[in-house]
């Protein structure tokens, strides 16, 4: 069994617990990404995001 299968089975058993863990991970990723783009400034951020 690989990780995708392991995790999907876990979600099938308890979806809300799975969603809670994933939401925290995604929120954290977005906060870190925003902090990065704000630090480098709008012009550079748009250069990266729109390339």
């Amino acid at each position: 069994m690989d990780f995708v299968e392991f995790w999907a089975k876990k979600c099938r058993e308890n979806m809300s617990a799975c969603q809670k863990e994933v939401n925290q991970m995604v929120d954290s990723q977005i906060e870190l990404g925003n902090a990065f783009y704000k630090r480098i400034g709008r012009k550079k951020a748009l250069e990266i995001l729109l390339k």
Partner: protein, 187 residues
């Protein structure tokens, strides 16, 4: 650097606020691709949400863009609604909306471009397992796209996750029908 993870889910709150503008103008939409898997607990990151809206006129889009502006959103590509429609949506390119002053998450907005997109919107559905009050493309549609068209390792893993979560509830005939439509329209 002080990074705090709030209790409120950033993506869900972002989508909810964005969709308010679509609902106000009665524009049909569907959320597709990565967020469908993530909202079913799939363990992977994402910074954007893919959204397809039904075909609308330039005038309707300008009104939508104005409403999004009032609701605190901006397109990364520019401000002028008419130009955004002509330069991007008319050419089947996506617009990338963010909250003003932020860079992530992004809403990648496209207009339905063919029979396949119109089919997805006509069959749109809410997915109770997600616990979210949004319209999605069906699970069968997502499986067909990921297995027949997109096929990246990430997409195939998303499909595998959805297949395990939904198991025998998946309508394989419908997956087959959409795969045939993908071959007809996109390949």
């Amino acid at each position: 650097m002080d990074i705090m993870v709030s209790d409120k889910n950033v993506l869900v709150s972002f989508i909810k606020d964005f969709i308010c503008a679509l609902d106000k103008l009665k524009i049909k939409y569907i959320i597709v691709s990565g967020f469908v898997a993530i909202s079913h607990g799939r363990s992977r990151g994402t910074e954007d949400i893919d959204l397809i809206i039904e075909k609308i006129s330039k005038e309707e889009f300008v009104e939508l863009n104005n409403d999004l502006d009032k609701n605190g959103f901006e397109a990364l590509q520019g401000e002028n609604g008419e130009e955004l429609f002509e330069d991007y949506l008319e050419d089947n390119l996506s617009l990338r909306y963010v909250r003003k002053g932020e860079f992530l998450p992004e809403m990648e907005l496209k207009i339905a471009k063919d029979e396949l997109d119109e089919d997805q919107i006509a069959n749109r559905t809410k997915l109770p397992l997600t616990g979210l009050d949004f319209y999605f493309s069906t699970i069968e549609t997502n499986l067909a796209f990921k297995e027949e068209l997109l096929k990246s390792p990430k997409d195939l893993e998303d499909a595998k996750h959805l297949r395990i979560v939904y198991g025998e509830k998946i309508n394989e005939e419908e997956v087959k029908r959409i795969k045939e439509l993908i071959i007809k329209c996109r390949l």
